[in-house]
C-alpha cells in the first residue's frame, strides 16, 4: 500500500473541495455578490466621492468589514455538505490525521475568499475613486495574511458549532470577539498603505503572529472537537 504523507492527505481534501466548488460555484458566487452589495450599501451610507481624504481613511475598514461579512456566508456553509454526507463520521474511521481534513477545508476557504478579493479589490478602487498613496504591493502581503486569519478561525468555529442550535448565528458570535486583534491589524495595515501616514510594518507582524498562533491552536484542537460526544 502506498504510504501517504500529511501533505498528500491535505491535498486530497483540498482537491475535493476545489472540485466541488468548480462544479457548483456556490460559495464564490454567493460571496462575490454579497460583497458587492456591501460595497454599494457603504457607498450609500458614506458618500465616498465627496470626501476623498476621508474615503482613504475608512476604505481599509470598509473593505475588510465587507469581506468579513461575505466570508461568513461561505464559512457557515463550509461543513454542511460534509455533515450531510457523513464525511465527519468517515473521517473518524480512516487512519489519516483529522487535522488534514481541517487544513484542506481551511485552504479551500482561503482560496475562495482570495478569489473574491481579486475581483472585489479593483471594484473597490474604481467605485470609491481610491488613489493609493503608500506601497500598493504591500497589499499583496496584507490581504492573504488577513484572509488566512479570518478563514482559519472561521473554519474551526464553524466545525465547533456544527451540532449546536442557532448554528448560523453562533459563528459570528464566537468568531468576531476572537478575531478582534486580527481585524484591528488588517484594517490598520490596509489604511496605512492607503494613506501612507504610518508604516504598516507593525500591523503586518501582528497579523503574522496571530496567524501562526491560531493555525497552531486550530490544528492541535481540531481532532478533539471532531470527536466530540
Amino acid at each position: 500500500m502506498l504510504e501517504m504523507t500529511y501533505a498528500h492527505y491535505v491535498w486530497t481534501h483540498l482537491r475535493k473541495d476545489l472540485q466541488l466548488e468548480w462544479r457548483a460555484r456556490d460559495s464564490i458566487n454567493g460571496m462575490l455578490f454579497f460583497a458587492l452589495l456591501v460595497v454599494v450599501v457603504f457607498a450609500m451610507a458614506f458618500d465616498p466621492g465627496a470626501y476623498p481624504a476621508t474615503t482613504r481613511q475608512i476604505s481599509g475598514g470598509l473593505l475588510w468589514v465587507g469581506l468579513l461579512f461575505a466570508a461568513m456566508t461561505a464559512l457557515n456553509q463550509s461543513w454542511a455538505r460534509e455533515q450531510r454526507n457523513q464525511v465527519l463520521e468517515a473521517q473518524r474511521l480512516v487512519p489519516a490525521p483529522a487535522s488534514t481534513l481541517f487544513l484542506g477545508k481551511a485552504l479551500a476557504n482561503f482560496l475562495f475568499v482570495t478569489a473574491v478579493e481579486v475581483i472585489l479589490a479593483p471594484v473597490f478602487v474604481v467605485f470609491y475613486n481610491l488613489h493609493i498613496l503608500g506601497n500598493a504591493w504591500l497589499l499583496l502581503l496584507i490581504l492573504p495574511l488577513g484572509t488566512w486569519a479570518l478563514v482559519i478561525n472561521g473554519t474551526f468555529f464553524a466545525a465547533l458549532g456544527l451540532r449546536s442550535r442557532n448554528r448560523e448565528l453562533l459563528l459570528p458570535l464566537v468568531l468576531f470577539p476572537i478575531a478582534m486583534p486580527a481585524l484591528l491589524a488588517m484594517t490598520q495595515a490596509t489604511t496605512h498603505v492607503l494613506t501612507n501616514e504610518f508604516p504598516p510594518n507593525l500591523w503586518i507582524k501582528v497579523l503574522i503572529a496571530y496567524d501562526v498562533v491560531f493555525t497552531t491552536a486550530c490544528i492541535l484542537f481540531f481532532e478533539t472537537i471532531l470527536h466530540a460526544e
Binding site: L169, P181, Q188, A217
Partner: protein, 265 residues
C-alpha cells in the same frame, strides 16, 4: 408498577440519586461561616472606603475607586481559573469523568464571575469616566481591551447555552483556551493602537501609587470582593455539580427502563 431492567445494569434503589448530592458535614458549617465573614469584610471595606481621607484633586469622587479597582483586578483573576479548569477538563475527560465534570462546573462558575465582575468594572468605570473626564466612554487601550475581555466571556457563555447537551463542556473548554490565547494578543495590539485611561495606579512608575492613608481601604475592599467572588463561584459550582448529577441520575434511570422521569423532576 413492574419494570424489566436491562440485563447487566444494576438497578439500585431510587434513594441513591439523592444521597450523592447530600452535602458533606464540612460544607455545612463552612459555607455559612464564609458568608458571614464575607459580609463582615464587605462592611469593613465600605466603612474604610467612606472614611478614607478626601483625595486632593477629585474630592469624594475618587471613592468609586475602592469599588472599581477590586472588581476590575478580580475580573482579570477569574479568567485564569476558567482557563485552568478548561485545561483540566480536557486532560481529565477520558481519564476521570467525575473530576472532569467538576472541572467543567468550575469553568462555568468562573466564566460567569468574570462576566459579572467585568460588567461591574465597566459600569463603575463609565460612571467615574463621565464624572472625571466628562465622557462615558473613550476608545483608549485599557477600556478597549477590557471591553474585549467582557465580549470574549459573554460569547463563551452564549456558546454554552447554544450547544447541544453532551458536547457543551468540550466545546466550551476549547473555546476557553482560544479566548485565553487571544487575550495577550488583544492586549498588546490594542496597546499599540491607543494609549485616556491613567497609567496603572499600582506599579505604574514613580508618580503612581496611592497615599498611605488609603491603603487599608484598598486592601479591605480587594479582600472582601475576593471573598465575595469565591463565595458566588462556590455557590455556582455546587449548583452546577447538582445539575450534572441530576442529569446523570435521570439518564441512568432512563437506561434502567424507568418511565418515571417526570417523578424525578
Amino acid at each position: 408498577m413492574l419494570r424489566t431492567p436491562i440485563s447487566g445494569v444494576d438497578r439500585r434503589p431510587r434513594t441513591i440519586k439523592y444521597s450523592v448530592v447530600k452535602r458533606s458535614s464540612t460544607m455545612q458549617w463552612f459555607g455559612p461561616l464564609w458568608l458571614v465573614l464575607t459580609f463582615v469584610a464587605l462592611g469593613i471595606g465600605l466603612y474604610e472606603a467612606a472614611t478614607a481621607p478626601r483625595e486632593a484633586t477629585m474630592g469624594d469622587l475618587y471613592r468609586v475607586f475602592f469599588y472599581h479597582f477590586p472588581h476590575t483586578i478580580l475580573s482579570f483573576v477569574w479568567p485564569y481559573v476558567n482557563c485552568f479548569a478548561s485545561l483540566a477538563y480536557l486532560f481529565l475527560r477520558d481519564r476521570n469523568k467525575q473530576r472532569a465534570q467538576a472541572a467543567d462546573a468550575l469553568a462555568v462558575a468562573s466564566a460567569e464571575a468574570t462576566v459579572l465582575y467585568a460588567s461591574i468594572g465597566l459600569a463603575t468605570g463609565m460612571l467615574w469616566g463621565r464624572a472625571a473626564w466628562g465622557i462615558w466612554w473613550a476608545w483608549d487601550a485599557r477600556l478597549t481591551t477590557y471591553l474585549l475581555l467582557w465580549l470574549l466571556y459573554v460569547s463563551y457563555l452564549i456558546v454554552r447555552r447554544f450547544s447541544a447537551g453532551g458536547q457543551t463542556a468540550l466545546i466550551a473548554a476549547v473555546l476557553a483556551i482560544f479566548a485565553a490565547v487571544d487575550i495577550p494578543i488583544c492586549f498588546e495590539s490594542i496597546r499599540w493602537w491607543r494609549t485616556q485611561h491613567p497609567a496603572p495606579v499600582f506599579g505604574g512608575g514613580e508618580d503612581a501609587g496611592i497615599d498611605k492613608s488609603m491603603v487599608p481601604a484598598v486592601l479591605w475592599n480587594v479582600g472582601a470582593w475576593l471573598m465575595w467572588g469565591l463565595l458566588i463561584i462556590g455557590v455556582r459550582y455546587v449548583v452546577e455539580r447538582r445539575k450534572q448529577r441530576f442529569q446523570d441520575a435521570t439518564a441512568m434511570d432512563f437506561l434502567n427502563g424507568g418511565d418515571d422521569t417526570a417523578e424525578a423532576a
